[in-house]
């Protein structure tokens, strides 16, 4: 019944990829790892031979769980147009769950926004889904993601406050680690970030 190896531990992270959102993105990825799951993102492979849409569809198919942040509703300063990628990928995930095989129907998602009930003004079709507000704060996003993953996991897990404390320790160490790699934090790829996080968490747990 399992779609692909690791399907039950894969979490698709669908969120903005800009620098402004980076602290929240890093916190989500960290919380997913800390809970024993594997974050997956469209950023994970820089293979230009694979179309972006194909890549997203493949990752969605390989993930039982997903985190969708639809908080980015502002118009672009340059184009004066909104970004529709996050709601679109949420729709793809819900579609895969509705029309997919038995394994795909086991999919679970959490939808994040800055404020509770704000989504009803711009995406009322998802009323009734599991929507959580993070107020644009790192600590809040960690609490939401940790508590949601705990509700899906049979494993024991430390509390949300411990997740937050761990994340802040990691953040304190990250500039020094970047210095050792002679790179800026903003230059870290998704693969770099996940490799550093897993090594850091492995040592933290020892």
């Amino acid at each position: 019944m399992q779609a692909v190896p690791g399907y039950d531990k894969n979490v698709f992270v669908n969120c903005p990829f800009d620098q402004e959102y980076a602290p929240l993105f890093h916190a989500i990825v960290f919380a997913v790892y800390s809970a024993g799951f594997k974050p997956r993102s469209a950023l994970e492979i820089a293979d230009s031979s694979e179309l972006r849409m194909e890549k997203i569809l493949r990752i969605i198919k390989e993930c039982r769980y997903s985190i969708h942040d639809i908080s980015r509703t502002e118009l672009s300063v340059v184009t004066q147009l909104p970004r529709f990628n996050m709601p679109f990928e949420l729709g793809l995930f819900i579609g895969a769950k509705a029309y997919g095989n038995t394994a795909q129907r086991l999919k679970r998602a959490i939808v994040l926004d800055r404020e509770p009930f704000r989504y009803q003004q711009y995406l009322s079709d998802i009323s009734g889904q599991d929507i959580e507000a993070h107020q644009g704060k790192v600590d809040q996003v960690i609490v939401r993601v940790r508590n949601w993953l705990k509700s899906l996991s049979k494993d024991h897990m430390t509390g949300a406050s411990h997740f937050i404390q761990k994340y802040h320790e990691f953040r304190t160490d990250l500039p020094e680690l970047c210095q050792k790699f002679k790179c800026l934090e903003s230059e870290l790829t998704f693969a770099d970030l996940t490799a550093i996080m897993t090594e850091w968490l492995t040592l933290y747990q020892q």
Partner: protein
């Protein structure tokens, strides 16, 4: 008559050790999570990343306990 050896007691992989020694970093073994692997190929060798993380942890421990 053969002497029966005492059964090993302890916690999971820490059988035979005391509860105290089984706890590392203040985290009970039961609360340790089986971590997933990193995603994709990082820009730096994983060995170098491991060494760097170890160095940062070692430096922190020196600050905490200067002995």
């Amino acid at each position: 008559m053969a002497v029966k050896s005492k059964p090993m007691v302890g916690y999971g992989n820490h059988k035979g050790k005391s509860r105290k020694s089984a706890k590392v970093n203040g985290l009970h073994p039961v609360l340790k999570v089986k971590l997933a692997k990193a995603v994709g190929k990082p820009s730096f060798p994983i060995k170098k990343i491991r060494e760097a993380v170890r160095a940062v942890f070692a430096a922190k421990q020196q600050v905490v306990s200067p002995k």
